[in-house]
Symmetry: C2
């Protein structure tokens, strides 16, 4: 067998040629897709969020966290990476931010524990992953993504989901890492209240986080992560980990992440029904989302909101509560960081 | 104060009058509703059900169980009771029947345990209840119904759901009561198989049970109960306890209970999307159900079927597998007890 020997000049030339070809292919890829829109929207929950109850410091903290997460997710898209990667990046940042009810800073159950839910879906293949009732996972959204990518299943629950996440090498943190003084006080207040004057649900679940994104390849993704409801009992599962209710993505219609009084969002299959409305009724996504949030949910008594994104990168963020923590970077590059209703 | 005394004649006359009035009111109610259609359909799972693999004894057992359950549910409707009661009655009978994968006779998890899921929904108010990963409950469907009727939540999971059911006084049975020799052998075979030649999923999940019903008041209800997938791990949750995927009811459109490879049914939000198709696209329920089962699911590679019922009592039972255990009593009183494809 003969080994081919190249002289130094030929080798250098070959290397240069390879580099040039790589640059050429890479810029051709960038050129061919640079006109395709990219967009991202995120939320940090909807509820009775009013200026009167918000300190300047807290408002600054929330706006900074939203801006950091939406810019980080957008940067992923700008680099040409996938919408799946973009929503994952945004959600992991929001999970680490103690101001939101997801990951660190999650609300506490009746037993004073943190039990989290998350789900994620990609619109080009309708692949989905979800975990429910997981403890100790620093990033529940990474567990949901691992289910999407490495499991034949869509939804794993409780200790089983944790075992799966451990087998995938995901990061676990001690209980103290998750539990903030704010949430401990919130649980104590909830449990001290007489049954009749219990905190309205709108104040018990807000701050779920979510993200939707559209990448240069025209692929949509959606993700949602939450600690659920303060003082929840009996292994209650809300809409966040339920594909169709809290999260849905379909490249033909839309990507949606919801936040609100989960039971209503499950009964009305909110995320999917918004996509179905725009697909079946040939409605714009904005009209379909408005109808579900402002008519269907309001008629039923279900408080909350959604972020939604259509295949052309149009963002819609309707909510029927006083406020919703939300941010978007639109297809034209405009950035919105919004909290109150009158900011729309 | 004067006590009114009546002579014996007046008293007897008063009693007779009261009885006559009651009979009159009761028959007026029966008259006003007797023209309203009632109907019920049930399933005992879809899969590779072929004559060649079915003993006469097993076929007789299945047909008898289906007929008993569908007649019992229909009798509830005939007596003027609710569709909620009718589907509950049918499902509890199917859960007790060891031939089906729900309640007694459920398939075994990787650890050799029985972990069951169930859900139930009423179409007039979109009320819903679901439990997932419950052990020891004789009738998981009664736990789902208790969630619907006595909890502010829709979905409870695992030990929490069991604690709730215990607090509601529901019946628990020891592990031995649930586990049949057939299921133990099935698990042993599944675990002995080399990874590459694992039993196709179609043989691992079939025999979930479900029911849909329409009562004289025009109210629809749907319910589903299952032991899930043989050899399941990591707290896997299928479509059966997920409102929108495995179960949905809306008086404006339809009641659906699904059975099949759950992951596909979750991703395509099968039960709700069938209702949405008939509502949004002004399609007949039969067309909408056929499209989802024979096109959407087949294109995606998702095996299974559904039973569906529209507000006029029209039954549709499409499936894309070799067979589906199914039965119906139609609005005209006709009864169907069917297993194979060619029986349609």
């Amino acid at each position: 067998m003969k080994t081919m020997m190249l002289d130094p000049f030929t080798r250098s030339f070959g290397l240069l040629f390879a580099i040039a070809a790589a640059v050429c292919i890479s810029s051709a890829k960038a050129d061919s897709t640079s006109s395709a829109p990219i967009a991202i929207a995120i939320h940090g929950g909807a509820g009775t969020i009013e200026r009167a109850n918000m300190s300047d410091a807290r408002e600054r903290q929330i706006r900074t966290a939203l801006e950091t997460a939406v810019r980080a997710g957008h940067e992923v898209l700008r680099q040409g990476d996938s919408s799946l990667e973009a929503v994952t990046r945004a959600i992991t940042l929001l999970e680490d931010e103690a101001a939101f009810n997801a990951g660190r800073g999650s609300v506490l159950t009746h037993q004073g524990r943190v039990e989290m839910d998350a789900s994620i879906m990609t619109g080009h293949d309708l692949a989905a992953g979800a975990v429910t009732g997981v403890r100790g996972l620093r990033h529940p959204i990474l567990a949901a993504r691992a289910v999407l990518e490495h499991s034949p299943h869509v939804m794993l629950s409780g200790r089983g989901a944790e075992a799966f996440a451990r087998a995938r090498g995901l990061e676990f943190m001690p209980d103290e890492w998750f539990i903030t003084e704010f949430r401990r006080n919130q649980l104590e207040r909830a449990q001290a209240e007489p049954q009749a004057s219990r905190t309205p649900p709108t104040q018990r679940w807000f701050s779920t986080v979510g993200a939707v994104a559209l990448d240069r390849d025209g692929r949509l993704a959606a993700a949602t992560s939450t600690g659920g409801m303060t003082n929840k009992r009996f292994g209650r599962v809300g809409d966040s980990p339920i594909i169709g209710a809290g999260t849905y993505a379909d490249d033909r219609s839309c990507a949606v992440s919801a936040t609100g009084h989960g039971e209503y969002f499950i009964r009305h299959v909110v995320a999917y029904s918004i996509c179905a409305g725009s697909l079946f009724k040939d409605q714009s996504l904005a009209d379909s989302a408005d109808q579900v949030v402002h008519q269907v949910l309001v008629d039923a008594g279900g408080s909350g909101g959604v972020i939604a994104l259509d295949p052309d990168g149009r963002v819609s963020m309707p909510f029927n509560t006083a406020g919703m923590y939300r941010a978007a970077i639109h297809a034209d590059g405009q950035i919105d960081i919004l909290i109150y209703r009158d900011e729309d």
